[in-house]
């Protein structure tokens, strides 16, 4: 007995039906979480916060589990995620932090210029970055690497990362700090299989640490050794945690994700200087808005001898190195 042919649902209809079912399932689970939370709160007053789910409440655990990628979240979902991050920091480190998602400043693209004539290899920028960005003290993650080169060479492969003499600068050596170049054509973004990293409108390449799956393809793609992987759970003394954090910036990160320099998103989007610029004792670092024709960095690009690292790769870094002129060649 032949059944009357039912119209085949189109791909659009199928997608929407699937999406609907996913949403229904999510709503159901969130409802379960809330009911469970209410029941738990009614049963025991103190046991809820440290019951299970890694010390999180069931609602927080499920909220984290179903958290979407940052760019796809609605403002309400982002607010909930920020509140979850603050609660998690309070639970794990015992520190009250504030996590924000300050949006990019309009008509602003950040750029960096570094005077290699002035860099003396003190590594103060590394130290300041470590503290500002809540990097694990024992892990190998340091966003800035200061390379020690022999004078007259630019052979990065033979550079020394681990120099530790009594006093720097060592005669005959040059120092070249390397960090994320915030490429305008970032190969790491293309390599990421889950779109956990992207370029923001102000030029900063950011990572959603909750969306990163830790595959480390981006580390392989980056020609500047700028990305670092958290092999261990970052250990930070509670007294040294920087409580002013940004979702895409220096919020406490979990183990097993990739992180990198983000031009101190939590500072620069509020008009402040990055921590490395503030820490530099020689004034070698200049930070500014590339779209402002009167900015300092634009003057340097127009009037100084500048170069970018591995420019031939076409990654278009927004990080320039320049050097001082000899006084006799100044116009």
């Amino acid at each position: 007995m032949a059944q009357p042919a039912r119209p085949e649902p189109g791909p659009q209809a199928a997608a929407s039906a699937e999406e609907l079912s996913v949403r229904a399932r999510r709503r159901f689970l969130q409802g379960v979480a809330q009911v469970g939370l209410a029941g738990g709160a009614a049963a025991t007053t103190a046991g809820v916060a440290h019951a299970a789910w890694g010390g999180a409440t069931l609602q927080d655990a499920l909220g984290s589990f179903f958290q979407d990628q940052y760019q796809r979240m609605t403002p309400d979902e982002i607010a909930a995620a920020l509140a979850r991050i603050e609660r998690k920091a309070q639970r794990q480190h015992g520190v009250a932090i504030t996590c924000e998602n300050t949006p990019p400043i309009p008509n602003t693209v950040f750029g960096y210029a570094l005077n290699i004539s002035k860099c003396k290899g003190y590594r103060d920028c590394v130290e300041a970055c470590l503290k500002e960005n809540n990097q694990g003290r024992d892990s190998q993650v340091q966003y800035i690497r200061v390379l020690e080169l022999n004078n007259g060479t630019m052979d990065l492969e033979s550079a020394n990362h681990y120099y530790n003499p009594q006093a720097v600068p060592t005669p005959g050596k040059t120092y070249l700090p390397v960090q994320c170049m915030q490429c305008d054509n970032p190969p790491c973004v293309k390599a990421c299989p889950v779109e956990a990293t992207w370029k923001e409108p102000d030029g900063i390449v950011v990572i959603d640490y909750d969306w990163c799956i830790g595959c480390r393809y981006c580390m392989t793609a980056c020609p500047y050794w700028a990305r670092h992987f958290n092999w261990t759970k970052p250990q930070i003394p509670a007294a040294e945690i920087n409580p002013k954090t940004h979702y895409l910036g220096n919020r406490p990160r979990p183990q097993g994700v990739v992180e990198k320099c983000h031009f101190c998103t939590q500072r620069t989007r509020k008009g402040r200087q990055p921590a490395c610029q503030e820490a530099c004792p020689t004034g070698a670092r200049v930070f500014g808005n590339l779209l402002d024709p009167n900015s300092e960095i634009r003057w340097i690009l127009a009037n100084k001898q500048v170069f970018r690292l591995k420019e031939e790769l076409g990654t278009e870094p927004k990080f320039w190195y320049y050097s001082d002129d000899r006084a006799s060649t100044v116009r």
């Binding site: 590594r123 492969e157 990362h161 120099y163 720097v168 200087q273 930070f287 300092e296 320049y322 001082d324």
Partner: protein, 239 residues
């Protein structure tokens, strides 16, 4: 004996009375002469050696003959004068005779060796002999300690150009908003401008089980030379 004792008592009483009267007379006059400075700033800027309060009004200066390069963006310089330990200089120099003969200084608190200029300069090339609380330019114009960058610019014009446009020196308090720059003397000691080498911060940690990468000698011969028979394999010298 009684007469002697009464005489002594009278003398002592008279002296005490005179001292009390003098103290009472001095008290109102001395109070406004040295007003108590705020404790925080006094602790920051001055050693508690003596009452050398900085003057409330800065000494008069004349505009510099060296102007900023054309097209320079607006800026303000972070004040420096309140950090000078021995300011005001006239505190001592008002009682010292002016000696304009160039000579070697050995007495503290001034630097005995003037490295700046490598022997070509001496104190009164920059400090004004007749008013020690200000500096002076080549044309004799008075330059305050807060505007000392104008004095440096007389010789170091290339550096001044870089500084004004932002390629030298350091901007304080944010990349946007009011442009505040550190003065030359915030970083450079004007009597010994070169920065001394010092120890770096600690090197990056190496993951457990690994050893730091040894620096590769950049003058290593090419591989085809190393692989020739009789050649020594591997790096020629290990540090």
């Amino acid at each position: 004996m009684t007469r002697i004792r009464s005489c002594c008592t009278a003398v002592l009483a008279g002296w005490l009375l005179a001292w009390a009267a003098a103290a009472a007379a001095q008290a109102p006059s001395s109070a406004p002469a040295s007003p108590p400075a705020p404790a925080a700033s006094a602790a920051l800027t001055h050693r508690p050696l003596r009452a050398n309060q900085p003057p409330a009004v800065l000494p008069p200066t004349t505009p510099a003959p060296i102007a900023d390069p054309p097209g320079a963006p607006a800026y303000t310089v972070v004040p420096r004068q309140h950090q000078l330990t021995l300011y005001p200089c006239s505190q001592c120099h008002k009682v010292l005779p002016l000696n304009t003969t160039p000579r070697q200084l050995v007495a503290a608190p001034h630097p005995a060796a003037l490295k700046h200029g490598q022997g070509r300069m001496w104190c009164l090339d920059c400090h004004l002999g007749t008013d020690r609380d200000v500096l002076h330019g080549i044309s004799g114009n008075r330059i305050g300690f807060n505007e000392s960058s104008q004095l440096c610019a007389q010789c170091h014009s290339a550096r001044q150009r870089d500084w004004v446009f932002g390629a030298h020196g350091k901007r304080v308090a944010g990349w946007s908003g009011e442009r505040q720059l550190y003065a030359c003397t915030h970083c450079h000691d004007p009597h010994n401008p070169a920065l001394a080498p010092r120890a770096p911060s600690k090197p990056p940690p190496v993951r457990a089980g690994l050893t730091p990468m040894q620096p590769v000698p950049h003058d290593l011969p090419p591989l085809w030379k190393l692989m020739q028979p009789g050649a020594v394999h591997g790096p020629t010298s290990t540090p």
